[in-house]
Amino acid sequence: MKHNSVSAIINLVEPWEQLEPLTTNRPVGTLPFGGRYRLIDFPLSSVTNAGIQNAMIISPRSGRSVADHLRSGNDWNLDTIRGGLFNFPYNDLSLIAPQKKETLVHHYYDNTILFLKRSNSEYTVIMGTRNICNIDLRALLRYHQERDNPVTTVYKSIDAKDSDPDTTVLQLTDNGMATAILPAASKNVVPNDNGKFAKSLNIYMMSTVDLIDILKEANERGDLISLENLMLQAVMQHSANAFEYTGYYANIHDIESYYDSSMSILEEDNFRSLFYSQRRIYTKVKNEIPTFFAKSSHVKGSLCGTGGYIEGKIDHSVIFRNVFINRKSQIKDSVIMQGTRIGAGTKVENAIIDKNVVIGPNLQLKGTPENPLVIGKGKRIFQQTEVSNE
């Protein structure tokens, strides 16, 4: 009913290879970001802020890190009797055995169809997690309702020179309709007069009935392609309304873009635009003690989570929860994730250090802005010779 007029599908089956080792044991969607969040928090918060009560998560692999993070959905207000959060694991086709694939033909989209039918919703929004934004889905819905095309998709205007060859952009008509979504390298898309591309945010809004039809037809054809590819086909087939998003935006597709996006959040304007808009960002609630800054600490231009103990020097870095920075250590232009400990006298620069890493004393961990040093989750490093990019 009223509360169920829109349901959401968040698709965590996304390209992850270029983000290794950060994505070795987690989908892109549960990559930590911004001192206490994970990428999925951003689309999920948009869903919460729009009052959407029904959400389905499509997970690759076992989805354990996804389930651990989301639990009942309570932290995103998604566990009331009016709806709920439904986690469907094991949708990554590349991980499914060939004979299992055969049994999936004509049934691959069954779970999604079941979810959509039960949701009783009028519209459905489909989102990925690798484009960080804080979008007003109510505005997107109004935009969609006011226009004729069966699908509405979302873009951010970016400088063409900032795009990679495989950045996906909208092919826009003169009256602002999207006729296709293509890699920037395709000769079918050209920047506009201002040298801008309409970068696709991989968000789609359409009527639930239409989406069920698309999925049923794909089932009938025996398609085994990802939901994302089905959406690209739908845009090609019908054209789409193109909704421009103008807030903070970051695209995470490889280590460098993850690093750049993390550093960009340290700029106060970006920080405020993403976290202090009318639309709050929700995440899993944790009870942590306050972070203690010792007399010897020296922290500048940085973000810090709670539960930390800081004795060393931190400059222009993102420090997650429960991090321990020992005396005389120096952290600069780096990302230190939850539970990591940095030994006394150690210097860290242009590095990304994943969760629960222990770095011994008096070591040097240095990358470059273009090629940041990455230390994988749970590593223990006590010798300089053990320091190496993975």
Partner: protein, 381 residues
């Protein structure tokens, strides 16, 4: 796997806390913020949950809105148990008339219907305004072992301090033989912590008889304990020797916050085996600008620091402008301090605004207080 509902806890959280002055003008004392991300009552509620007590009644009466919102359904402490949980007990009316609470024991009497519904064997009576970590289950074991009718939690105090407490004089078996309220010449060092375990059936009898005969047992300290001793009920003192602070005055509240700042505080807030939980809000991380300078301080989510913070606690959503200096102070949630201001030896209330260039300066013996939402001077940006 201890049995359910053997002991019901009642937290007395109804007092006005008038010795906290401005801070409790519009909120109840147990809801006062402490230590950066707690409220005072979190310690008692967490102690209950950690002691395996599933059912807790919180009696409240004075300005309860913030306290009620904080407690919610108890889920923050894992007290949202289907077979128990937290119930907030406020004044109400009945065919017998309006039921306000005149004293600690009277508050229990007025809520007899609720307690009977839980049908506990033991009643644990607690205050909502102490900072400590205590295992009430160990105290219950003691109560059972002593076959006591009443057990009173006591803490050792110096003869000097004893003059401010109700003192329990005991025999060599720890049986209470005399109770003296604020004695000039204390005979023991055992001060009552205001923590009682009663056999419910016995206490219920005393309360019902006394209120039906106008011989009213209004207060535990003043009336009930003397009556128990007069009637030779077996009352025992249970000694606790951990960190414990009554934070009922401005001075003691500030002092306890400053002690909390020490990494060597015996309260040991970081102990994962006895977590103190609070209602958690999701807020962005703290943001420390390139002009910030922080020493010996505790800071939490969503703080913005551009100035200097020395030996102080900043609660959630506190903002400190560039050029400002915060020293030996505790700043409560949402307070904002402008540029080039000075806050020294102070308690700053929730959502207070301290303008640019303002000076709030107390001393160790006379802590400055800024009230909830109070505005001092003008904050220009």
């Amino acid at each position: 796997m201890n049995e359910n509902n053997e002991m019901l806890a009642i937290i007395l959280a109804g007092g006005q806390g008038s010795r906290l002055g401005k801070l409790t003008k519009s909120t109840a004392k147990p809801a006062i913020p402490f230590g950066g991300r707690y409220r005072i009552i979190d310690f008692t509620l967490s102690n209950c949950a950690n002691s395996g007590i599933n059912t807790v009644g919180v009696i409240t009466q004075y300005q309860p809105l913030e306290l009620n919102a904080h407690i919610g359904n108890g889920s923050s402490w894992g007290l949202d148990d289907q077979m128990g949980g937290v119930t907030v007990l406020q004044p109400f009316s009945s065919t017998e008339g309006e039921k306000f609470f005149e004293g600690t024991a009277h508050a229990i009497y007025q809520n007899i219907e609720y307690i009977d519904q839980q049908n506990p064997k033991y009643l644990l009576v607690l205050s909502g305004d102490h900072i400590y970590k205590m295992d009430y289950e160990a105290m219950l074991d003691y109560h059972k072992a002593k076959k006591a009718s009443l057990t009173v939690g006591v803490i050792p105090v110096s003869p000097e301090e004893a003059k401010r407490f109700g003192m329990m004089n005991t025999d060599e078996t720890d049986r209470i033989i005399e109770f003296e309220e604020k004695p000039e010449h204390p005979k023991s060092n055992k001060a009552s912590m205001g923590i009682y375990i009663f056999n419910w059936a016995t206490l219920r009898n005393y309360l019902v008889n006394s209120f039906s005969t106008n011989n009213e047992l209004e207060d535990f300290g003043k009336n009930v304990i003397p009556m128990y001793l007069a009637n030779n009920e077996s009352a025992y003192a249970y000694s606790f020797d951990g960190y414990w602070r009554d934070v009922g005055t401005i001075q003691s509240l500030w002092q306890a916050n400053m002690e909390f700042l020490s990494p060597y505080n015996s309260l040991n807030i970081g102990d994962h085996n006895w977590r103190i939980n609070s209602k958690a809000q999701v807020l962005p991380p703290m943001y420390l600008t390139s002009t910030s300078n922080i020493n010996n301080s505790m800071i939490v989510d969503s703080c913005y620091v551009a100035g200097e913070v020395d030996h102080s606690i900043l609660s959630q959503r506190v903002s400190i402008g560039a050029g400002s200096k915060v020293v030996d102070s505790m700043i409560m949630p949402g307070a904002t301090i402008g540029k080039n201001a000075v806050v020294d030896h102070a308690l700053v209330g929730e959502e207070a605004v301290i303008g640019d260039d303002a000076v709030v300066k107390g001393t160790e013996d006379d802590i400055a207080v800024v009230g909830y939402g109070e505005v001092l001077g003008v904050k220009k940006s």
